[in-house]
Amino acid sequence: MASTSNSTSSKIITLRSSDGEVFEVEESVALESNLIRRMMEDDCANNIIPLPNVTAPIFYLVIEHCKKHAEMKDNKEKKKELRSQGEELLKSDPHTYSNLMEAVNYLDIKSLMDLTAQWLADFLKGKSPRLIRELLKIKNDFTPEEEAEILERNRWAFD
């Protein structure tokens, strides 16, 4: 599915997502993941590497972001593009965004961890708790009494 063009002599790493899909990824891209890097250093990576915590659609997204991130170095235009894509995903499909964050975290891809966390942080600023819940589809698990108390106390902060 997501096999990359092996134009160079770059080694191809084979990975398998939790739902059984197999990916072939250029080593340079795969090495963005510290998890995969460590496994390769320990020589565990001659066969197919299983990624039990990542589903195919999410992994595809991760690879896509990794590539874009590699391209974007020193390129402000690309940087903007990647950022707006991230924000778009956050708005349109927060569920997938949270899965992306988890996957990136699991794969230990530092650059993308930073980006996805920062986008989310910027997204949250200036929004009310209710709006955040609505946009990210987060359940309000406070009891009505607790929520009333919090709102009451928050008036102090929002004065």
Partner: protein, 431 residues
Amino acid sequence: MPLKRLVRDGIGSLSRRGFVFRRDRSDSSASAVDAGFDPDGIYDGDDDGDQSSWASLPPELLRDVVERVEASECAWPARKHVVACAAVCRSWRYVCKEIVGMPEISAKLTFPVSLKQPGPRTGPIQCYIKRNKASSTYRLCLGLNTESGKFLLAARKIRRPTSSEYMISLDAEDISCNSTSYMGKLRSNFLGTKFAVYDSQPPYRGAVTSTGRSSRRFYSRKVSPKVPSGSYGIAHVSYELNMLGTRGPRRMRCTMHSIPSSSLEPNGFVPCNSDLPTSLEDSFSSISLTQSQPFDHIGRGLKSIDDSSRFSGSTRFTEVSVDVDGKEGPLILKNKAPRWHEQLQCWCLNFRGRVTVASVKNFQLIAASGETADGTGAGTSQAGSSDHDRIILQFGKIGKDLFTMDYRYPLSAFQAFGICLSSFDTKLACE
């Protein structure tokens, strides 16, 4: 064999992350169950899949995000971003509170609860107080800029036949003991020479939570808005007539019943209520007398049981005290004696530019135990900045109806405000 397994095991040992994350995940769901929440009952969204994805986001990730929100703005009003995040759901609230931490370390005030937590150890938090004589109200605000500081607390003076009271509130528009914003009060005796500061909540949690049933009752009282709060005497301030009669500087003495004198020792700490008044986070954290040595824990544990039995008896005014018999007496503060300036012919204190108008109300408080250390008279001038470091609360006039208040560990903003208000009150016997 086993190659596959080898690889899998390899992931396990190589990647702690993966496992930590799984464990955290089950932990967080477990605590939700512990807290007695029925996920189906409360959930009002329409897609469980969407929901669970954010609820189960590993705490370390959420923490990273909140840290970014928190770190971006250390000044008001932008700090409200992190306050908003804390009101999204339980797990977010927990993470936000953890990251925001205590003003003692962070030197920042974020949630209202931080007003009752000790100020920073490193240096003072600078505030100002605006007095409105017409309405007998006082506003405490954060910051140097006296135009745009973040509002912290308000107080209103109420004259009673035999005393005066200053109600202290989180809400400048609603200052009464029946308000949900009520924080406590200052009350004077008839002469205005002795004052008591009352906190609407017990100052530290051990005092209440160990009682089980009665603490529950207390908890529910807090939630229902109409019921008046309790009154826990946490400090006494007394003004003494000085040797020079009415003309000279006042002598102040503050006994901080909720702060042990040992708090100023190198490993000292103030037992405190680290949570919101409702102890919303009860389900997440255990009783918060952390930082103390195990031995201390036992001692305090026993003590707090004593206290709690007193709290559960329905006295309206409860004295809170630390173990006065041992070496852990309450912290006692006294005002730094001003020096007579021959050329200016007045009493002088070095306020480092924070006070500009001479007033009998101006004062600097230091620990009374430090009194012998800095000697009398001669030593003070050369002690310089290190001497200044030990000033725990400084209050003084900078303009008509405008005053500065700088406080630091181990006092809280609430305690400091209470002490400063006592300085405003007319002292029949001292002036």
